[in-house]
Every structure is written in structure tokens, then in C-alpha cells.
Symmetry: C2
Amino acid sequence: MILYMKQIDGWITAPQGFVAAGIKAGIKKSGNHDVGIIASTVPAAAGAVFTQNVMASPAVLFSRGVAQKDYARAIVFNAGCANACTGEQGMADARRMAALTEELMDIEKNEVYVCSTGVIGHLLPMDKVEKGIRDAHAALSVSGGEAATLAIQTTDTFVKKSAYEVMLGGKKAIIAGIAKGAGMIHPNMATMFSFITTDAAVQPAFLKRLVKNVADKSFNMVVVDGDTSTNDSMIVLANGLAGNPVIDSEQHPDYAAFYEAFLAVSQDLAKLIARDGEGATKFLTVEITGAVDDGAAKSVAMAIAKSPLVKTAFFGKDPNWGRIVCAAGYSGACFSPDKVSVALNGLLIFKDGMGTAPDAKRLQAVMEEHDITISVDLGAAGGAATVWTSDFSYDYVKINADYHT
Amino acid sequence: MILYMKQIDGWITAPQGFVAAGIKAGIKKSGNHDVGIIASTVPAAAGAVFTQNVMASPAVLFSRGVAQKDYARAIVFNAGCANACTGEQGMADARRMAALTEELMDIEKNEVYVCSTGVIGHLLPMDKVEKGIRDAHAALSVSGGEAATLAIQTTDTFVKKSAYEVMLGGKKAIIAGIAKGAGMIHPNMATMFSFITTDAAVQPAFLKRLVKNVADKSFNMVVVDGDTSTNDSMIVLANGLAGNPVIDSEQHPDYAAFYEAFLAVSQDLAKLIARDGEGATKFLTVEITGAVDDGAAKSVAMAIAKSPLVKTAFFGKDPNWGRIVCAAGYSGACFSPDKVSVALNGLLIFKDGMGTAPDAKRLQAVMEEHDITISVDLGAAGGAATVWTSDFSYDYVKINADYHT
């Protein structure tokens, strides 16, 4: 089956009926954009997944409540202060961000998601936040996508967006997403925001299921440092303005096309997050095959992607398969050492439990590449998994040693 | 009960009947000591624990067999080449190291443990190793403890030893240990060797049980980078020459005294390994109390000790409790955020789920300290655990990016 799907250059306002804004409210010391709103002009089916961290921020606790409802209208957010570990006042502030947005937009209660990112342990400067929300509301427009994207960034070094056009039941629909995140990146959501909008019509309960499924194949397969933050949120709004027949199950004729586009946006964003890993000099794709099952493959991929020894070796341009197979060995997955093979960008460096003698020039050329795929075949069965990560450089240490509270 | 136990300045040859040697055999590029033997003049009860890594080196696979026997006579070892991922030849080489030692010492089969550490994936230069073993055997003496200790080091920056004198049934006994390890350090054995000798008389089966128990409270509570190596080995030899009544159970009158001394040696060595963490500028003790049980406490302690964000924060002298409680939050342990408190060297920085406002001068003074204890009370129940680790510095990255295969 060939599905009509085309990557396009657009922000989260590319799907019909979405507006956005980003404002410089003075929360970030840098003076950059730090408060924003993304809104749908009509109620949108909504789905979301959040951090599993016990210390989840009030914004996450509040938004989990919003996620109980089928429909939502907007996401209000700020960067520069995570509103985490802020007790009762933090929860009141998260509620206030939503209430003010609802009031300005003149919409129902509990239809606005709230997201905060930045330093943990400080109360939000609510005067600045409130003024920011008012200004952002006044600025909402179809051309506000870029400013909104800037307003979710913290240590990000570039904006992260992706959009696809797809045909659903003869109607053209668009799905678009933006993301932030560069450190504290780990499965089950990192300091990671991903906001995805679409004008496709999707049944709310089915959308909620899909979001979890897609997160597991995209954002939950990215590792920068293994730290799962207190604030991670992936939120999807589907307002149905494309006019396609409502997608409500895996059996729906347009399901496959929508799913592929949704997954493509999410995986694009996930890879951009790994690519922007704090201090990264390499983008690493860890591809495991031949595991006893997909779960074992994921364990091996994660062990390799999280290993500081593997990550520093790639920073040092050293094809150190010893550290790669060592990480596989302690992952908890079962396999026979003498059936393992490892390749870097297709060049075999380890086979049947021992190092090969690859052409030194070709190997050096691979290690000079910015994008390297580490392929490990465990030779056991058909389990597979792919994880994206970055290397560990002096700058990772510098960024995180200098980022003072 | 007050037990007579005294720390003494001695090498692994301090207990009666032990000899050792370390030789420069030319395996290390640096030309330093790299082959050695530790031997007991009489058969010694022996216990050991090894890496859980699936890719365990032939030396470990061979030594696991030796560990099946009640008694052993010696440990033969080399540094500079881990003999890991070396297939059939690697196994033949490990066997040869033991056989040659047995031949030279004129002892029974399977009474010699074999340990190798260094780069993964290279065959041992057996001509150098064999000559080294012959020279080491010829040099065995009670004054060879220091040279033997040098011959197990790789990236270590100082020698690691500990020894205690203890009275057992009216007889003076000594327990002494040496260790190596600075990177690839993680529970269930790191690139970590610990060789412990004692002239105490301990029943072999009981000693094997004790070794596991003590490892769980010492070496398995150290983290440098979270990487569990292919070669970790802890080996204990107890030759009984002290003449004390044989300790054979927890009910034995001398059990408590022996156990305390054994644990003290092992914890001393474990802490020295964390203190020598590659590139370390801080020695961190992570002390968890108030968890639902000891297992949950260990999960929280490990999550904090392994977090690159926590480790870089301490390198940057930043009292970033946000990263500490965040790591506790994703550890998988259950607790109420609003009951958590955190102190650094006794100075409270987080209480009841929120940051405190500690005296800035006192806090700065704490962050300047080399040794910092991070105490986290979860306020749930009585579970406790202590883990030792180090910070992450530019030098950690440098050492591991430059250490080429």
C-alpha cells in the first residue's frame, strides 16, 4: 500500500484552525521568548502523555486532569522556570495560568493544558507570567508558530519542528509538531515538550491510545543523559477541520495513513532532540536486531545509548566495540556472546564474539562522520529496537556544571 | 559488645603465610608493573564473586570454575590487556596462565584464580605473560605486596589497600585487601579487582556465603559511571594460619569480630575506588533513609549516584537539589514528594517538598569541600542504603575519550 504523505515546511499553525503566539515576558534571564499559547479555534480531540517522575511538577499534575476530558482548546506554556518542587503555591500558579487563558479565550473550564520548563525549585514570577499570557493571547495568529516554538526552548540550540501533509478519505490533512529538549533526556519523557496539532478528525478515546503508542516509538526511544525530568509533556490536539471521516480504530481505512504521518512527525522531533543533545558532537542511532524479543532489544539499545563510556568513546572518535559489547553484556538481555556482531555505518567491526580487522582508513572515515549508526545483531531471534542519542563531550560537562540554580 | 579491631598499615602479605610479587612484563605501554601472583603457602579456604556481564572474559569464566572448589592456593593476574572478547584462544590463554602457575608452584589443578584487566578485544601477549609469571613466581615474598598492587592497576591514580587486626578466640588474625578500579565502575562488579587475604580460619562454604554478603555492602555500592565491566572479580583467601577456632556460621562466637573486619576492609577499598573515580574532583556519599525498604533506598541512592546531571552539578559546585530530588523521583521508588528532605554535609537544603533558604556562606563552604555527603530522607519508613560515587568532570570525558583501543 502506498500512502500519500508529503513532508512540508510548516509550524504548528499549518493545520487549519490553529493559532499560536510566543512572547518575551522577562522570565528568562536572556530576555528571549518565554511565554506562549497554542490554540484551536474549535474544540479539538486531545491526547497526552506525561513524565512518570514522582516529583512531577504542578503543571503536569494539573494537565493530567485536563487529559481526562475528550476535548481541549489550548496549551499555555512558559520556559525559564519549571514550577517544580513548589508545593501548594506552585499548584495554585498552574491553575491560574489555565484559568486566565480560559477567561481570555472565553472557553470552558479544564480545556487548557499547562506546561512549564526551566529551573526546578523556584516559584513562577506570576506577574510576568500573567502579563505574558495576556500579551500572547492578544498576539495569537496563524503566523505565531515560530515565536511559540522559541518560547518553549531552554538549552536548545535550534528550533525543532516537523510537518506532513496526508490524504485522508480524499481530504487533505496536515499534522505538525514542535518540540524542545536537549538535556535531562530519557524515556518516559525527558525535559521534553512535544506539542502536535492536526486538522485530521480523530475520535478522542482512540487518539489517547495512539498518543501512548507513538510516544513509545519516538520520544521514549531518545536518550541524552538518562535523566527523566519532572515536567515532560507530549500533547496532541486534533480539531477535525480537514473534514475527513473520523478515524476511530485501527480498522479505519485512513488509520494507516494518519498513523504513519503522526509517527513521522514524532520520530523527526525525537531525533532532533537527540541531535541537539547538550554538548553533542555526534548523532548516534543505536539499532539492535536479533534479540529474543523487542523488549530485550530495547534494553540492549538503552544500555549502549546511556553508557558514558560508549558516549565518550564516540566523542573521542574511537571505534571502541569493547565498550559497546560490554554495555550489551550488562543490559540484562540474554544472548550468546559468540553470535554477536557490531557494525558502524555498515562497516563490520565485531563478528562472532571477536573484533574484526576492518580497513583502517574506512573506519577512520566513519568515525569522522557526524551521524553514526551503531548496528548490533545479537544473533538470537527477531527482536529489534532503535534508540537515538548523542555523545558525551567536554561541553556536556560544561553546560551542566555551569547551569547554576 | 566491643570487638577488638585495629586498622594496621599492611599489604596483602600482612596475614601469616601469604607471599606476593609484581613484575614489569612489558604488557602495559607505560612499562609499569603488569603481571603478579598472590599465593598462600598452605591451601586456603576461598570465596569469590564475579561480574554478571554476559560478555564475561575467559579469565572470569575460568575462575568461576576454580571457585567451585573449597580451597585455593593462588591468584595470578595481569593488567594492560583484559583478555575479553578473545574467543577460544582467550580461554586457552587463561587456562595456560593457571597451569603455568600450578606447575611453578607444584600444586594441584584448579587451585589458581586468573584475573586480567585492561583493554578489551586483544589477545594476551602470551610470551610476555608467561615470562612475567615465571619472574613473578621467582620473586614471591612477604615484601611483594606493594609490587603486586601496582600490577593490577590501570587508570588508578593511587594504590588501594586496607588491613585490620582482629582477635578471634584469643588468637591475633589479620585481614588485608588490595583493589583496583577507577572507571567502568558499577554494582555487580566493575572493572574492579579486589583481592583479600586473611590468616583467619573460616569454613570454606561459609566463607563463600560471606563474600557475597560483604560484596553487596561494599563493592556493589560503588558507582563511577554505571558501566559494569567484563572482568570484575573479588577473591578472598583464608588460610587459617592464625590458629583460631574455625568460623563456620553466624552463631560462632568469633563471627561478629571477623565479619566487622572483613566488611571494614571491603568498604575501605570500595570507598577508595569511588574516591579515585576517573577525573573525580569530589567524593560523594549518597545516604538514603526513610524509604519503604532497603531495596527502594538502594534504587534512590543509585539513581542519584548515577545521574550525570547530579554529578556535573557537584563538579560545578552547585547545590542543585532539583536534580537530586528529580533523580529520586525517577528511581522507581515510591514516596511522597512533600515528605522528602535533603541535606549536604548536614546542612538542610530541601524540606517538605520545597527548597529551604540555607545560609549562603555555609552552603558555599560545603560545596567547596572535597568530601560531600548527600543525605536524602524520604519520610516513608525505615529503609536505608549508602552508595559511594564521584562527580563528572572535564577530565572524566578526557580520560575516556582519549583512552584509545
